[in-house]
Subunit: 139 residues, 4 copies
């Protein structure tokens, strides 16, 4: 099963006065990897805004924060597709430190919607295929 892997080094602006990563930034950081995923399956955000035949809003997100992360910490972030439904798909992210410990994880649920009516639509065929091809790729 295919996985995207990116390295990220925690920046000063990711942290807060408690000295560690501000929790909301964990969601922001994994979204960068989601943008890589969209590019990899041939469907960048830029194209999404131009073509605009469907939208992909996030309808649910959740995360666990297992270890505090400090400025300068480098982590590996992995993205995999954990579920594909009729009109939605779910992505799972792991944040792994350089010793191999999982220090956090995130899940995001995305639905496809009609840009005009904003109501849910089935995953467009071409898009579903691209996700399926990604899943079946070997790394």
């Amino acid at each position: 099963m295919a996985v995207i892997k990116e390295y990220y080094t925690v920046k000063l602006h990711d942290t807060d006065a408690a000295g560690v990563l501000f929790f909301a930034n964990q969601f922001r950081i994994v979204h960068d990897v989601y943008e890589q995923f969209l590019i990899r399956i041939g469907c960048s955000f830029r194209e999404r805004f131009t073509v605009g035949d469907f939208h992909i809003p996030i309808v649910h997100a959740e995360a666990d924060f297992l270890q505090p992360l400090q400025v300068g910490d480098t982590i590996e972030i992995t993205l995999s597709v954990s579920e594909v439904g009729n009109s939605s798909f779910t992505l799972a992210y792991q944040l792994i430190d350089l010793d191999g410990w999982v220090v956090g994880n995130v899940e995001t649920v995305h639905v496809t919607t009609d840009p005009a009516s904003k109501s849910k639509i089935d995953l467009p065929d071409g898009f579903r295929e691209k996700i399926q091809e990604f899943i079946e790729e070997s790394d």
Copy 2:
């Protein structure tokens, strides 16, 4: 049961090129109300950093995004305590538009830890009482 209510108007920097609130910012925005909560129960972040006898990291957070929010939209954010455990407490937030529709919600789980060992400790008595008093307040 006590509830904190704050109004918030979506700022340009909260949105992204898709024209709506960037999902991670929903977590950031409700944390501002959590900071109000800490002040209201007499336990501000400033004090936390100074006294430092225990920490309160967030170990889990999740959110639903029910309606897209645009720059200039004003919402009411409510905070309530949904659970108090031995070494943790859970806060529930609702984002409500001016017509009374729930447009989003968030849940955050906080644990109390020892600053030195980073391991979980029971909610300190004084802190537990403050949370309990808040819950029992009438608005």
Copy 3:
């Protein structure tokens, strides 16, 4: 000369591991007051995106950071118009603590541009008048 005044309390997410306001956030925070200014002169961002007959990008910004700000600090932010040119206007912001000391300031230079060609255009007459009326208002 008219001035907009807003109070702001520094949030945890505004700070970084150095314990004080992360410098870029001072620019973000004063932009919230600029959004108030646009609403006050009858020209909100929402309307800008809908009508879209001209854009108002920021072409220059600068700031002084005179005193470190910590989580929980409340400041007053003032906005005034410091210059109106042919195709640009300049806003000046002061950040003032509750004892009346100026702890920071920001200046932003805005130009009006044609949405299609992206090139500078003269301030549209109606917009120029709204800015002028604001300047001449007494508080």
Copy 4:
């Protein structure tokens, strides 16, 4: 004269509903390169917080925004030291698109201060030497 060069791809969260990079994020993004600079001269933020014999707050920052940047745009960011004074140093950053056009620039002025008194101190000798060595390096 030594220059640090980093590539950066504009993320969705860097943009706003106007469809382009939110101006304050240009300051945030170049700070990431400053963090690289501190590591390169052997003086990371992590070390700064631990050793803590002097602080390096930013006292002034300014930027020009020459071309709008969109999600997915990749730019090169260069950092160079433009001035070293008794108790301050100034860094200059350029944002250059892949065709070689300068699309933005930033300048940040940093002073060295005593952690206890918060007053300005001369650049500590070891720190001044590290900056000087960086300047004299060939790329």
